[in-house]
Symmetry: C4
Subunit: 187 residues, 4 copies
């Protein structure tokens, strides 16, 4: 693990500064957060979702540094399972009606509590998780009701860099700069 | 149902204020309204359309509060049926040549009249419905001929938030704030 | 056919004014003109192209008023054939190596000459048609080499309204306003 | 081959001026460079990537003028192979864990060295190639860590014109103007 003591100084204020060291679980709504909300449907009812390779790298980095990832979606699409499996995500919950209940279930399995949990969501049904998480994060194009409740709002839109933006800031708050590693492995 | 008496005050003028309480049917053109007009065609002629998860939430909210939804499209694509079925929409009409006739058919079945109907459309073949509806609504990127006739023009483009924008304003005009519900169910 | 004598007055200058009455054939490159240039490829090599419903309406209107449409593409994708067939286009040429030769072939069949032909293209291989057509039209995001040669450059990008923008201007130059028709058929 | 001695004069400074004549290999990361990073996944786990027809023309032009092309991707998707095969690319490497090693392998086969190699990348795992290449090029929306190391940053985003932008500048630096050829073949 490469640590970079200079990173923090160049950040005027990192929203995860005082929180990140306690976090164990990063739970993610899918549509509108890891995607731009698009639901592609073909003539046979086969559904496609559009994920982003940079967000995938973000998830792999978080896993590398020990964080548990969960996908919690109201959608029943198997494309979510396909994405989760390809990224070795342990908790892939689809067709979820109450996300609060879903979060609690994962927290019991991991034996952690709300103060160790971050949730990323963009629509009103995500708001039910509020009492179960330490921070609620939203992309800049989230529904106004979410923007009003979010502890942090990204500069990026869902599916357009938002999750990676979070990952970079979050790891920086822990003094981790994964880029140094890739550079050093190249020399 | 959660009502919020403060909402109306913060809205300077809601275009659905004097209309919404009489509306029973919300009829929607698909291409360019629930989508951005994209028609994806593969090498086997299989067609895909791109819908949006936030619009889906909008349709579910309108249904929850008792409004009938209809999809009326000139396109014959089965992807429209797949979307309509997944959202429990009762009226899914595809390959429609004359949308005026289609609207009248639904109005007869529901025993309602034009003054109880809203239509959302974006292209010139949608203009035939004008005499059969109370309001004609268009996304900001609709064809100029539609923009010239529309009773309300959204700030959003078709498939990019337009339908949900309508839903939020429409429900607010009825003093309904569905977000309060999601918050309260979370505490 | 609905004619509207007032349209021309509101147009300061229509680029097709002196040309449109002589035109018989409208030949269209596909990638980057009827699409945004995207080539979707799946794990099985199945290709998808993204067309636009508004452009489809434009083609149907031009056909209605007697113009012959041709798709001339260097790509071999069957998705082009699927789109052409769904729009009843008579000339669908794919895998074309020399577009000049292709245009000449169609002109012979139709017994017309270059002065009766418009071509819409966006990339350098389209430039070979220049001596075979009356006008060469490009979307605003065409390759600079095409923009330098184009007789008219649309305000819209390829696949994002460009073809319909052309259609509307072209029909207006003939004093045809197809929207009046849709309105009148609705009363 | 059409050469245009006037081109260089109109370019204030071409970043490939002093380099291009020595280059033999142009190696390209795929996600985020030839695509916008989108990963489309359907209900059956079938993956689709979105390439661009203009970039395809760029690759064909570079091949025409004798440059070797390589695709080097961390992704295992067969869609990369489908794209590479359709463009007659000789080196198509997918599922690559260490891109530095991959580049070295190709350089040995071609019997060339780092000073004859250009790499185009957008994310942190691409940085490992730095010691193995002459120039590292990034699209304008690359990860900040790449932008900080890039020898040239395009005005275009990945998948949205970036590779063709590079191609045009690179060929111009060699006094090659492929557009003249297409024009002259048309007269």
């Amino acid at each position: 693990m490469v640590k970079d003591s200079n990173i923090k100084d160049t950040q005027t204020s990192n929203p995860f500064e005082s929180v990140s060291s306690e976090i164990k679980l990063i739970a993610i709504d899918v549509d509108g957060v890891l995607t731009d909300g698009s639901i592609y449907l073909d003539d046979h009812g086969n559904q496609t979702k559009k994920f982003n390779s940079r967000d995938g790298m973000g998830i792999r980095l978080l896993q590398k540094y020990g964080f548990e990832i969960a996908l919690i979606s109201g959608s029943k699409s198997n494309s979510i399972k396909a994405r989760g499996i390809s990224l070795n995500i342990n908790f892939i919950m689809t067709g979820v009606e109450n996300k609060h209940v879903a979060i609690n279930k994962i927290q019991k399995i991991l034996n952690i509590n709300p103060s160790q949990t971050i949730f990323l969501g963009d629509d009103i049904n995500d708001l039910t998780v509020l009492p179960a998480v330490r921070m609620f994060l939203s992309p800049k194009n989230a529904h106004p009701a979410c923007l009003g409740k979010a502890n942090w709002i990204g500069k990026c839109e869902g599916g357009e860099g938002f999750f990676r933006e979070f990952t970079d800031l979050f790891l920086f708050s822990l003094n981790i700069n994964p880029y140094l590693e890739f550079e050093s492995s190249s020399t």
